[in-house]
Symmetry: C2
DNA sequence: AATTTAGGCTAAAACGTTTTAGTTCTTTTC
DNA sequence: GAAAAGAACTAAAACGTTTTAGCCTAAATT
């Protein structure tokens, strides 16, 4: 059984292809198609189960009503939630989302952009990797709007980005730890050159400094990105081995690192918060349910997704070469969720 | 800056559109295009940054090299992992994946199928909702292959499905609990008419029966699908309130329910496994890290994804109306992961 | 009565590819 | 020396839409 096309309907209804098209696109009235013909066509179309071919439509109109979403890894809770919120929000504008994961690989990211561009998506929401700014600028030059999420390029203020206020979030967490009397605060971050993580790191140092505390290199662990689970775990275990003595608190800078941290703490049988206070950037079911429950700086994931979509939609509506607003960076506030771990 | 098309290249290289097409599709040799022209065209194409328009290509060839993936909810860990494994596997065959979530809503699922069909995906991998079999059969009739995952339609053996052996998995879990001496085993499931959950329930009863134990209705809690977090939690709390007396073990039939269960156990301060043994169908970071660690029946998520893709690819290769193999149901074995909770 | 306007439709081009069937030379073959 | 074969390309149709420009008839206006 073959798909039915607009001309099948035209033939069966005894009208022209154009007429059918007008009816299907609610332009029948404007095009002065008579009531009878409209009804006839609608009836035949329903009867034959007609569904317009979006490829053809997209080819003709240049619009696919699709946005390309590139995240780091769709199987990560943070990105999965973000993706869902973007999918839901896009639906409200009658847009479909095509997702893919970069696995934080620059080359793969480039390939994905290519692939989405070949598929003629109307716009992009991208969690960028390093060195992707050129490719992204090229998209903008082709008049395909892009909104970055979670990360951004500080040297490219013209590329809009929606993200949590990383500096402010970590600052708030640090202030809280210090306020509670902790002084030997360890930090676990992930190796990356990207600005959002640098902002988090900078906040850590700045707050320490502001309180007259010296950042101590031995308290800062940067886990290599490519290390496997076991290796990464080992690093964290090593850092926390002296908990209670040289370390009295630890701040994990991502969701993934926090989970790793819990594993290490469990392994070392560290008492939390007795021997070690724990704080993590990014929430996760596990932090809510672990014993003790883990305090977190929570990103407004849904809000990020929504804002990213609405920003993109605005750009998509812009008829021609309207000038982009210069203040393209949107930072949303993070919440400090106080739980038992500190 | 406009996109460059095949005819831009043709013009610039001083050849015909067909020649360019042949070169771009590696048919140049077969079509006896001279070495010089091939090089010329390739050079111009590279220089102009040509990227074939997949809409046009798809329209012409009828193949989009895209598969549509419909899951229940992409933000759920199980589906997110499954989606990632499908994406990765599809990539090996040079196929792209378009995902969407049904939220377990029949109507939404239908809409999604429609949308994917309009976008001319070549095949589908679907986590079906209830009453979707007709729509799926329609796809098959249109010669669009479908593979179900996680769930299936028992009355439609002709629709291929890849899923864990639910009956066997739950049986294995139950045997383990009974073997360990537990007799008052509670069950928490989610309300649904779908066969995969019925299989799990049936295994529970059958194993009890096989050991001369009477299934006790008061020990079985079926959480309504639509209930919110709080309401669902309340239900589980109520069931487990008598832990240590009327209940000595509990088997959660899904990932989500297990997480809910942990929350209830935490709230009630039940000692696990002292007062209550706990087992869950489906693994999750949380089960590995909670104290005590929770034993699970683990689904082979990656294998399901891979098998689903390879099954689909086989159908996609089939030239015409080859008869479908009748044994379309593929059940993969689940593992019992023994941890501290039992 | 001649022109305009309106009503109700349709023809055909265009979007960017792929692919079939040629076309035009040149070289072999008998 | 005519026919066949080969080499190197190209023209044009087709995929399924949307949309512009028009056609034809009937009614309204001058």
């Amino acid at each position: 059984m073959k798909k039915v096309s607009i001309s099948d309907i035209a033939r069966k209804a005894g009208v022209s292809v154009s007429t059918v098209s007008f009816v299907m696109n609610d332009k029948a009235v404007k095009m002065r198609i008579s009531r009878e013909v409209i009804e006839k066509v609608e009836h035949v179309a329903r009867e034959m189960g007609y569904r317009p071919n979006q490829l053809a439509r997209g080819l003709r109109t240049g619009k696919t009503k699709t946005i390309g979403l590139i995240v780091e890894n769709i199987s990560n809770a943070f990105f999965a939630t973000l993706a869902k919120s973007i999918e839901d929000e896009a639906k409200k504008y009658d847009y479909k989302v095509v997702y893919c994961s970069t696995d934080n690989d620059e080359e793969k990211a480039r390939e994905l952009i290519n692939m989405l561009s070949q598929r003629q998506v109307d716009g992009y929401i991208i969690t960028p990797t390093l060195n992707l700014s050129e490719d992204i600028c090229r998209l903008q030059a082709e008049n395909k709007p892009v909104v970055l999420i979670d990360r951004y390029f500080p040297q490219h203020e013209e590329i809009p980005a929606v993200l949590v206020d990383n500096y402010e979030g970590v600052s708030r967490g640090m202030e809280y730890l210090i306020d509670k009397g902790y002084r030997k605060i360890a930090l676990v971050s992930i190796e990356t050159e990207m600005a959002h993580m640098k902002d988090r790191l900078r906040a850590y140092s700045d707050v320490l400094g502001r309180h007259g505390l010296q950042p101590d290199d031995r308290l800062v662990k940067i886990v290599p990105y490519s290390s496997d689970h076991e290796a990464a775990l080992k690093e964290v275990v090593q850092l926390l081995a002296s908990a209670g003595k040289d370390v009295d608190a630890v701040f994990f800078l991502t969701n993934y690192l926090g989970v790793l941290g819990i594993e290490a703490i469990k392994k070392l049988q560290i008492k939390v918060p007795g021997e070690l206070a724990v704080l993590c950037f990014d929430d996760n079911d596990i932090f809510r349910l672990y014993t003790p429950t883990i305090s977190v700086i929570r990103q407004p994931v849904e809000a990020i997704g929504q804002k990213a979509v609405s920003t993109l939609m605005e750009r998509l509506k812009q008829p021609g070469e309207e000038p982009y607003p210069p203040h393209a960076l949107i930072r949303l506030e993070a919440d400090l969720i106080k739980r038992e771990s500190i």
